[in-house]
């Protein structure tokens, strides 16, 4: 059932090309605005690059997260999901994995190019990719919690989601951008990477469970 839901959700998103392509385009456009608006000097670009790339990744996921459970809620397939004999936690994990594969992985694949635009060194680009690989699952998982909490609120979802999610992401953003800056300045980064990984594992362990509880609350009207 895990794989079925995973493949079903992957197919659903890939067939609707704008679903995964638009957030990606949004990411690239937002990132390219910053050098134009702030400065094209190399030192400035390197200093702002990790923050800009990470903030753009967060903003891009705000575009897709409201749809994560709400589309299913509206057409009724969420009710079917809740009625499955398998634990809901498990099924939710499949949906989140599909979301990560279709919405976060493309950003990570484009990130090296963006890093080149910002004149980052190859070493820093590598670290940036690692920070994205370790950080974006946490982003999807925390976003999933908020998306599940507000699943039944139709009109206000797109506004409420950022308001509730962004404060929770601040620690993640701090560690993730710090690690790239530290790498650029040649400091050791193992500690920060370990913290990012710890956040990810913590989110992986608890988020699907919390999401399952939140979905049950949201659906029961």
């Amino acid at each position: 059932m895990f794989y079925r839901i995973l493949i079903y959700n992957l197919k659903l998103t890939l067939r609707q090309r704008s679903d995964w392509l638009n957030p990606l385009l949004f990411f690239i456009i937002v990132v390219s605005l910053f050098p134009l608006a702030i400065s094209t000097e190399k030192a400035v670009l390197i200093a702002i690059a990790p923050g800009v790339i990470w903030i753009a990744a967060v903003l891009a996921s705000l575009l897709s997260l409201p749809q994560l459970f709400q589309a299913d809620f509206i057409d009724g397939s969420l009710d079917q999901l809740l009625l499955q004999p398998e634990p809901l936690t498990y099924l939710v994990a499949a949906k989140l994995l599909a979301h990560w594969l279709t919405h976060q992985l493309p950003l990570i694949l484009v990130a090296p190019l963006v890093g080149l635009l910002f004149q980052l060194s190859n070493h820093s680009i590598g670290i940036l990719i690692i920070s994205l690989l370790l950080g974006t699952p946490t982003l999807s998982l925390l976003g999933g919690i908020i998306a599940a909490l507000i699943v039944s609120l139709r009109g206000q979802v797109s506004l409420l989601l950022p308001l509730l999610l962004l404060p929770l992401l601040i620690p993640l953003l701090l560690f993730a951008t710090n690690v790239v800056l530290a790498a650029e300045q040649g400091f050791p980064i193992n500690g920060q990477l370990a913290l990012l990984a710890a956040l990810m594992l913590l989110a992986m362990a608890f988020a699907p469970w919390v999401i399952a509880i939140a979905l049950r609350i949201g659906v029961e009207v």
Partner: protein, 240 residues
């Protein structure tokens, strides 16, 4: 013994009604002692002069901002697990108080920071995490108010509250983990690094703030109870 009695709305309403007058008098006395002792009798600081006296508002409000959140989270957990109506009402009543305490801590902190650090605001770990705490309170209120069905809204908002609790240890230990501008703890059970003549009014102010918040929360909870239980017999009896 039947412990269910203690969580019944009616018992809470009667009991809190009896306690509130005494609590209020005691709180006023503590406020009076703390304010007079802190503002008039405590000696000026050898470095900060009279400027340090804002500590008598800043420290209690910062302390309360975190304590309120912890108390709300405990009540939220109780309400999610055992579906106790009273716990839910307490969470909701405490949220605005907590938000205001956090705002007060931030405002007094930046007023204190201007003469002492030379800036209203600095992106220091403790300041930033206190700001996140304010956002968490506002997020709770926003989520709760977004639902038409208030029981459902309360449960969703309670979960958000519990997810946000990760921030509390970060605020508390931020001054140890990151060596930043904000000073570490001065008040400890033993060996406080503050003179007794300054410390005693401060402790009184913290206690006064705690009791004041408790009183306001209970008052709000009583109103909420009457509103929610307006069809029950005891309510008609209580307000007639």
């Amino acid at each position: 013994m039947n412990w269910h009695k203690f969580i019944s709305p009616q018992w809470f309403y009667d009991f809190s009604g009896k306690c509130l007058p005494y609590l209020s008098i005691f709180t006023s006395l503590l406020f009076a002692y703390g304010l007079i002792g802190g503002l008039l009798f405590a000696p000026p600081d050898y470095q900060q002069g009279d400027g340090f006296r804002i500590i008598y508002v800043h420290v209690p409000s910062a302390f309360l901002s975190m304590l309120t959140y912890m108390a709300m989270a405990v009540c939220a957990l109780i309400s999610l697990i055992w579906r106790i109506k009273l716990a839910d009402i307490m969470v909701r009543s405490a949220a605005p108080i907590g938000a205001w305490m956090t705002a007060l801590a931030l405002i007094t902190g930046s007023l204190w920071g201007k003469p002492m650090w030379g800036t209203f605001w600095i992106w220091d770990a403790r300041l930033t995490s206190e700001l996140i705490l304010l956002f968490l309170y506002l997020g709770y209120l926003a989520l709760y108010n977004a639902f038409q069905n208030s029981a459902q809204g309360a449960r969703a908002a309670n979960i958000l509250l519990l997810v946000g609790i990760v921030n509390i240890p970060i605020i508390h230990y931020s001054v140890y983990w990151w060596n930043t501008l904000h000073q570490g703890t001065t008040i400890k059970l033993t060996n406080s690094s503050i003179a007794p003549s300054m410390l005693h009014p401060l402790l009184a102010m913290i206690a006064a703030f705690m009791l004041y918040s408790l009183i306001v929360v209970v008052l709000r909870a009583r109103n909420q109870l009457l509103w929610q239980e307006s069809r029950a017999k005891w309510v008609k009896h209580a307000i007639s």
